[in-house]
Amino acid sequence: MTLQTVLLVAAALFSVGLYGALSQQVVVMVMMGLELMLNGLILAAAGFWWFLAPDPSGQVLLLVIIAAMTVEMAMGFAVATLLHRVRRVDMTDMAADLSG
């Protein structure tokens, strides 16, 4: 295990997530893509911490990202539920009244 391997895996996760976020139109699936991107970031941050600067302050970044992930996902499900309740849709392209 080297830092390069970890970063490569992280980059792969991030890219797959980005692809998912760009290619999906179901709100929850887009969120899954975003989740994967965050996972890539977590892995990268953990790798940096473990290999470069193994002191406690490096972990704070990790915690911030994890907290961000939790909050974002909770909000995401709230928004998806709202969308479903009000409009009865779960796809982003079916909610496109506001444009131009």
């Binding site: 976020a21 760009l22 290619s23 887009v30 909610a95 496109a96 506001l98 131009g100």
Partner: protein, 647 residues
């Protein structure tokens, strides 16, 4: 000055790729595509001239231990201007051939041109791989340009699969170069450790032979002729095929260092030159003939790389680019005008359009190697060097040049003699058998032909003294490289004799094995294409169910969207227009009293322009979130790339 040249080098690669991507992506840019693409191509010519003169080198860090580096050395300084000029001329001529989806066509051509420029200037293996891949993908898209035609798609696929298979060699070479320890710079490959050196050479050799359509990969070129003629003129003369030969010239020190690779390369080149020349002689279709001849002529370049005469090979590459682009364009002109590319349908075609016919004749004579036209001198520069290595290979090369005189003569025999009145119907029966001809040749189609004819006639000077030694010095070759006087005389005599004999007899043997490209295509079809296609079909069937539904849904959504947009337009725009026109009427009336008339008009003009921009600015705000995502990500990526490269 240095910085300017470096920026020019980046621009040479990035500008066509960027403009091309925009054009290819924009759906409704057809009207403005041609001016934009021609302007870009013209800019590229200027940029290539600058970089050829200043020879800049640039690099950005890429992976640990290697850079993504571009450099213009003597060889690239020779090839880049050729490439850009031919691209410009081909794009000019294509305006007469391509009438639909012009934006996509020009976009792809520009992307392709950018990738080729990248390839030609690449100084490290990663840069080369990147450019090589883009080049391959763009060529696939271009050959299959008329994608509604299944056969053309499969032709594109054949070309793609074959060259891809060969490309794996390049990846093997890259891996071996990493292991070899001399770094990934192309110039350093010959210094890697002896064991790995062989792997690198073999990998590069396979990849280059594949791209250059040398044996045993030649067949893909035949299938690739299904693409538009302008594509053939660029891809299969000046650019992609040539890049195979170019790569070998570039790594010539590596080939020489291994000991075995030089002779093997020469052998492959000689075999291709001879056999594919025979294949060309047997063809009954003009583009097929030209395709086989391309592979054969590239054989000489490959021989040059093997025999160590980089200058001769480069000169041959340039001369061949001009000649073959000319002939492909002429074939394309006839195809769009008459609807046929079969030799039987082109009898006496010179009589219809004199200028096209004369230009094609110059091209054919140059191709034949008739003195003093270009390929005569350049080919002999190669053969002189080969002759110093092995008399057998030299004899093969000489036979190949005799055959090239034969197939060139075949073209002349067809296009020149006037068709007697009683046979005319027979010829005209072939018209429109491939597509509907429009019986017209535009001015824009003629101009490039004449310019290329001049190039085809005079490019040979590169292989004759005094230019030859300049070229040799530029590419870093020591010792003399131009053709010996004896060789020049011998080959001129041989080719002239063959040409005269055939012109007198007006007949040529057409062996069946050669007509069908020696069965290579069938073999490849059975071994490569068909299994792959079957696989793809299975996947497609699986996909159909899913995709179909998606497409139907999308179509429905699009209809309803447009209906909504129309309603929106009616309501809002009407309203806005009425109120603003009222307003502007009032303003105009008041202004007219106070202001001069011209100022008024200018302001009005500007206002119209700005109003139109206002409508345009709202386009990206589609209301579709996934399109917002895509736009944002693309803008950011482009921003990062621009800042990193220009910063």
């Amino acid at each position: 000055m240095r910085d300017l040249a470096q920026v020019c080098l980046w621009l040479l690669v990035v500008l066509p790729a960027g403009v091309g991507a925009l054009l290819a992506a924009a759906r409704r840019a057809n009207r403005i595509a041609i001016p934009i693409s021609l302007a870009t191509a013209t800019t590229m010519v200027g940029l290539s001239a600058v970089v050829a003169a200043a020879r800049p080198a640039v690099s950005v860090p890429f992976l640990a231990g290697t850079d993504l580096a571009l450099a213009v050395d003597g060889l690239a300084a020779l090839i880049l201007p050729t490439l850009t000029v031919v691209t410009l001329l081909v794009l000019l001529a294509s305006t007469g051939e391509i009438h639909e989806s012009t934006a996509r066509f020009h976009g792809l051509m520009l992307i392709f041109a950018g990738a080729v420029a990248f390839t030609a200037a690449a100084a490290t293996l990663p840069a080369l791989l990147l450019a090589w891949e883009i080049m391959g993908a763009a060529s696939y898209a271009l050959i299959g340009f008329r994608w509604r035609d299944e056969d053309r798609m499969s032709a594109g696929l054949t070309a793609f699969l074959t060259t891809r298979a060969a490309d794996l060699g390049l990846y093997a070479a890259a891996g071996a170069a990493l292991a070899g320890g001399a770094g990934l710079a192309l110039a350093n490959l010959s210094q890697s450790s002896p064991g790995w050196r062989h792997v690198i050479a073999a990998g590069i050799l396979v990849a280059a032979l594949g791209k250059a359509a040398q044996l045993p990969f030649s067949f893909w070129l035949s299938r690739a002729m299904a693409g538009p003629s302008a594509v053939s003129a660029l891809l299969h003369s000046a650019a992609m095929v040539a890049m195979g030969g170019y790569l070998l010239l570039r790594v010539q020190p590596l080939l020489a260092a291994t000991g075995w690779a030089g002779p093997v390369t020469t052998g492959f080149g000689a075999a291709t030159a001879l056999l594919l020349a025979a294949v060309a002689v047997a063809q009954r279709d003009l583009k097929q003939l030209l395709a086989a001849s391309t592979a054969a002529q590239l054989g000489f370049v490959v021989m040059a790389a093997g025999a160590g005469t980089v200058a001769g090979g480069a000169a041959h590459l340039v001369a061949h680019a001009a000649t073959k682009a000319l002939l492909f364009l002429a074939a394309g002109v006839w195809l769009t005008a008459l609807g046929t590319k079969r030799l039987a349908g082109l009898r006496g075609v010179v009589g219809r359009w004199r200028l096209v016919g004369w230009s094609a004749t110059v091209g054919a004579l140059a191709l034949a190697g008739i003195a003093p036209l270009s390929l005569w001198a350049t080919k002999d520069a190669v053969l002189t060097a080969v002759g110093e290595q092995s008399p057998w290979l030299y004899a093969t090369g000489l036979a190949a040049s005799a055959l090239s005189a034969a197939y060139a003569a075949k073209i002349l025999v067809v296009i020149w003699p006037r068709v007697p009145a009683d046979r005319r119907a027979e010829v005209e029966a072939h018209f429109d058998e491939e597509e509907r001809g429009n019986r017209r040749v535009t001015l824009l189609q003629r101009v490039p032909l004449v310019l290329l004819a001049v190039g085809a006639a005079y490019a040979g000077l590169l292989a004759l003294p005094p230019l030859a030694s300049t070229v040799a010095r530029a590419v870093g070759q020591t010792g003399g490289s131009h053709a010996s006087a004896r060789e020049l005389v011998v080959s001129a005599a041989v080719t002239l004799a063959v040409l005269l004999v055939i012109l007198a007899r007006r007949r040529l043997p057409e062996p069946r094995w050669a007509l069908r490209w020696m069965g290579l295509q069938a073999a490849a079809s059975a071994l490569v294409t068909r299994p792959t296609l079957r696989c793809a079909n299975a996947l497609a069937r699986f996909d159909d169910r899913v995709l179909d539904r998606a497409i139907t849904g999308a179509a429905r959504a699009a209809v309803s969207l447009s209906r909504r947009a129309a309603r929106f337009d009616d309501r809002v725009v009407d309203h806005a227009v009425t109120s603003t026109s009222e307003l502007s009427m009032r303003v105009a009336a008041r202004a007219a009293r106070a202001d001069d008339r011209w100022l008024d008009e200018a302001v009005e003009h500007l206002a119209t322009r700005v109003r139109r921009l206002g409508r345009l600015a709202r386009r990206p705000q589609t209301g579709q979130l996934h399109q917002y995502y895509l736009q944002a990500v693309v803008v950011l990526l482009v921003g990062v790339v621009l800042l990193v490269t220009l910063g």
